[in-house]
Symmetry: C2
Subunit: 303 residues, 2 copies
């Protein structure tokens, strides 16, 4: 099952050096989840060959513009392009008022349902579940209320050993039960032990998304053992004072967080406009946590 994330924006605050404000597209089993939506996200989707129409869920971490100014344009374009299926937005509550005001003055009545779910920013909470995925929020420490997201694959069904089942002429009507781990007493008297006819499913994977935050141990418990941990790394560590004032993280700290929380792989982004090239940030994170990559726009990372 596909579980991967494509970077659409990697810049902090302002677009610069061909880097755009934050947005990511999560593909879980060919369902598409947009995480943050900075200005120009719809142009970035087009640039990298994605259809905005496939997005059914949007997660906005907080209401600094570089994380949501592209949403109103994206929603408007979906409307103009004839969307009828609903979209669900998880975001801080005031976003609903902001969107409504802009629709009001453009006299736009959106043709598709927008279901708005206010994220709450006081404690971690599960906000979403479908057949593929569970999404939990957690509380980041930023200048304004800010939510991190953890995307966890659902436990998959067991895998059938089809050759064996076929050679022993076990009817396919039993397959769904076997996938669910059931042992069977067949009418002909055979006893089918599940462990002999199935193998374990793939281990569910976890993607942690920490957009804008101060290094703060209180959220580390929410991002343990991520297969891929995205963490902002706005500054090099020589700018720690600036990171503290602006409630951001350094590349070194991002590496430390990945190590402390047991991540398999770290993806750093939200790069300050002061860095024209990013190798220094990568080197710094890798000095603590080797398996680190830069969030490069257009690149897709398997989770």
């Amino acid at each position: 099952m596909k579980f991967e994330v494509t970077i659409l924006g990697s810049s902090s605050a302002t677009p610069v050096y061909n880097r755009n404000p934050t947005a990511q597209l999560l593909n879980c089993n060919e369902k598409f989840y947009l995480i943050d939506c900075g200005e120009g996200t719809q142009q970035q989707l087009i640039k990298y060959g994605f259809k905005a129409s496939k997005i059914d869920y949007v997660f906005i971490s907080h209401l600094h513009g570089d994380h949501y100014f592209g949403l109103i344009g994206l929603l408007s374009s979906l409307h103009l392009n004839g969307r009828v299926k609903p979209i669900k937005i998880f975001a801080p509550e005031p976003l609903q008022e902001i969107l409504a005001l802009q629709f009001k003055y453009s006299e736009t009545v959106i043709r598709y349902p927008i279901e708005f779910v206010a994220t709450q920013t006081n404690e971690p909470v599960q906000i979403f579940e479908n057949a593929d995925l569970v999404v939990d929020t957690f509380v980041l420490n930023h200048r304004i209320p800010c939510t991190g997201f953890k995307f966890t694959q659902k436990k998959r069904l067991r895998k059938l050993i089809v050759d064996k089942l076929e050679s022993e002429h076990i009817d396919i009507e039993y397959y769904p039960l076997l996938k669910r781990g059931v042992d069977l007493n067949l009418p002909d008297g055979r006893i089918i032990l599940n462990k002999d006819y199935t193998t374990d499913s793939d281990t569910p994977k976890k993607y942690g998304y920490c957009s804008d935050t101060l290094f703060d141990e209180r959220y580390f418990g929410s991002i343990t053992d991520c297969d891929l941990l995205y963490h902002e790394a706005t500054f090099l560590h020589d700018m720690l004072d600036r990171a503290n004032v602006t409630h951001h993280t350094t590349a070194l700290q991002a590496g430390e967080i990945a190590k402390m929380t047991g991540a398999v792989k770290l993806l750093i982004g939200h790069f300050s406009s002061r860095y024209k090239t990013l190798q220094g940030l990568l080197d710094e994170a890798r000095s603590v946590f080797e398996n680190t990559e830069l969030a490069i726009e257009g690149n897709t990372y398997t989770i």
Copy 2:
């Protein structure tokens, strides 16, 4: 004196085929005026090598998102990049409320003064004047209140025939008076007739900007004799019904308007996403008005 306009966005409604929503940058004597500001305008400014910091005036025609969704991001970036000098925005009144709401929830207190001037949409009115330029609004006929803008160069000073003035040892302290057309009786008894020592200034040029509108003779009087007339041409004329329903103009009509109003040159833009290539629109406008060009992003047009 430089008087030219650069196209930053040429698409109607939604970005597509590498075309972005409407924005134009007017350069008059190295002062910069932004006309409309669709999503991604700040990225387009960077792409084409312009400094957003040089923009002191913004003119927004109406509150459909493809004409203003980029403004909040641009203003935020100017703030983050340390701007202190004021910016003046001419726009429909509700834009102020929209901007204020977004600044409120991001807890942003903009460090530079934003002077907001509500455009009025019932009748033509002069809204701006400085040493270089006069700007008048006029009423377009769109689905929501929409303002066109006419940018007229100020009458320039007369040009001195410097060789002649120098050879006759006329003191430079008289030059400013001569530039203003004054005849002089010098203390030494010489009579200096202005017409013998100066030539006419360049004729002031006019740029007309008609963003989104139905073909409607009522505004034609406001755009007579433009040296460059920008007019939307969203559709080919075989889509006239659609143009009428959506309050837009066809390429053929744009050509007719240029002809009827005595434009020197016509620039067409705001192309519908149904047109991957634009030659058909250009051919159609040229069939009525030969001196037509397409508004191509990144291109600069002398007025």
